[in-house]
């Protein structure tokens, strides 16, 4: 009898402790950046279980870390781009972006040749069936992965930061949705989930990264991550692969034999809004 009483007490104490820990841990969630590797694993297991429940589909969430000796950079050939917007749509599929038709991480702007790169006269709503139009050229704009990012500086809760390999990421579980980073971004590269993302299970790309393309909740900010789920696994971003004219180049800035280094040395490179000193890792050049 005494033993039974003891076990019951122990059982109650244990359940109480578990409940208390559970309650506390939901209230004491930390930024993904601050958790230990083991905790991150368990957080990821929770995320995967959550996605399984929500979408009825396996979503694998990677926590691949930055590769040593790698600093990513991107270069886009303005003389080749024809404005077909295939990058925009490939990006949407790869990155589990809401299909509501309003949210794209890549915006392609049609500009007039006689005006040059001039945002005041740019048109993002041209008809992609009729490109390239005479007298026009096309400037795709996505996150410029600035070396001096104004967006991470303004975040009141440090929910966004620059990774050692140069990718500016968002912690979707920590972002409070104040949108100050969107006001601070000079390139319109940050996007907000104004509503629950529209994403059918069959549309989901199950290969994701915890700081990248894993499905997001409503009310948080998201952005291009150079396809962190691909590039940290040694692959090219989806937009590079899909570009039909080979206008998109991607590589390791620290590797002297990389294509990106070749472009910087042999082509004339242009930086969007250079005067703002954001120091983008995304360059534009004229290949021909």
């Amino acid at each position: 009898m005494a033993d039974e009483g003891k076990t019951r007490r122990e059982f109650l104490a244990a359940t109480g402790a578990v409940a208390a820990v559970g309650l506390l841990s939901s209230c004491l969630d930390e930024r993904l950046k601050d958790v230990s590797k083991e905790e991150l694993k368990s957080r990821i297991a929770e995320m995967e279980a959550g996605y399984r429940q929500k979408y009825g589909k396996e979503v694998k969430v990677s926590d691949a870390e930055p590769l040593p000796g790698v600093a990513f950079a991107y270069a886009l050939d303005l003389s080749r781009c024809v404005g077909c917007r295939r990058c925009t749509y490939a990006c949407r599929e790869e990155n589990n972006i809401s299909r509501d038709g309003q949210l794209f991480w890549i915006r392609v702007l049609e500009m007039e040749k006689r005006k040059g790169v001039d945002f005041a006269h740019a048109n993002a709503y041209y008809d992609a069936e009729k490109v390239p139009r005479d007298g026009h050229f096309y400037v795709p704009v996505s996150c410029q992965q600035c070396d001096n990012p104004p967006c991470t500086k303004v975040c009141p809760v440090k929910a966004t930061w620059k990774e050692p390999d140069g990718i500016v990421t968002v912690d979707y579980d920590w972002c409070i949705g104040c949108r100050y980073c969107m006001a601070a971004c000079s390139y319109g590269a940050r996007h907000f989930n104004w509503k629950e993302p529209e994403l059918k299970p069959e549309e989901i790309n199950g290969t994701t990264h915890v700081l990248g393309n894993r499905p997001r909740p409503k009310g948080v900010v998201e952005k291009c991550t150079f396809c962190i789920q691909r590039t940290r696994a040694g692959r090219y971003p989806a937009c590079v692969e899909v570009c039909p004219v080979g206008a998109r180049k991607f590589g390791n800035l620290l590797d002297p034999s990389s294509e990106i280094r070749y472009i910087i040395e042999h082509k004339r490179v242009l930086i969007l809004k250079e005067e703002l000193n954001t120091m983008p890792r995304f360059l534009y050049f004229y290949g021909t």
Partner: protein, 413 residues
Amino acid sequence: MNVASLFWQFVVGSVRQVLRGNALYWTWVLFLLALIGVGVVAYIHQVQEGLTVTAMRDQVSWGFYIGNFTFLVGVAAAAVILVIPAYVYKWGPIREIAIFGELLAVSAIIMCLLFVFVDIGRPDRFWHLLPPLGVLNFPQSLLAWDVLVLNIYFVLNFVVATILVYCGFVNKRYPKKLVVPLIILSIPMAVSIHTVTAFLYNGLGARPYWNASILAPQFLASAFCSGPAILLIVLQLVRRFTSFEIKNEAIWKIAELMAYAMFFNLFLHGAEIFKEVYSDTEHLLYTRYLYLGIGEMHAVVPYAWTAVCLNITAFLLFVVPATRRNPITLNIGCLAIYAGVYIEKGMGLIIPGLTPDALGEVYEYHPSLNELAVSAGVFAVGFLVFTLMLKVAVPIALGKLRWSGASNEEIPH
């Protein structure tokens, strides 16, 4: 009787006072409660559906909520324009009414914090801002600074107002050594809430319309107009509906100070417009959107010109002694300033800051019905708080509501 139990008496007395009132009082309170109800329903809808129920989008990512927030930071300065002449220059007529400025500041800050709260996409994560549970990006993020200074200013005004009203309740002289330094401190704090809020926008290189150093001085100048404008109307209402005596000199003096502030505000605006128009760089785009529109897009143009006309009218009415002393023109001036600064510091600041967007797109923003309903609810909360505080503070100041054990002697100031 010790202070704690005396204070308890004060709390009980205040609650009783708030629950007593005539039909007019209850109609007003019920009206505000109804508006709050509307706001709560609209807010629940917003939480369920997301901020998609607002008219904000990626292009214009801040709108009516943040505009109201910015305007109300200005209103919170009302306290200071009264405190400076009352306590620094010891100008008697204003001293008795400084308490109203402090109560208005408290209500305005409550509305400010609520407007920020209803604007965020994840209100369930609000605690992420609160260390040690959360992480406040201080001193890097100006929003972190704003959270700090607004809360300090709120506590400061709340404490001072409570002490003053409490001392009136027990009919004792307020502890000068405690109150005066706090009041003096509220002056730099009022300046800092404006400066920090201006810097919030000012520091963004991505937004040329905001990235002008004239912004912070302009915030201060317009704040010294909008807060007192509301106060002047409140003071006249208090005078009308209670036996509280407010001297005409006090009202005229405030109106005169407002005229100077409005002149400075208009001057700063003119300086900025001159720079933009004469240099005619690509940055002119935002000013042009505000005053002329771009192509077919001119949603904000009528508002911009209305604000200019109202501000100039108010300046003229307040700078001429005869019109600021005439109760009719005085009140027209107050309403003109209130409306003028409301447009200028609200939508007139936020919308051209974000339009055209960073990639040159013009998205015309009009607040949605849901946004208006939530905002009405927030304003109603502020007005209700202000009403209830006045309900307690006015009779205490008149000596009509007092602790039963207090002496009935008049205490000279």
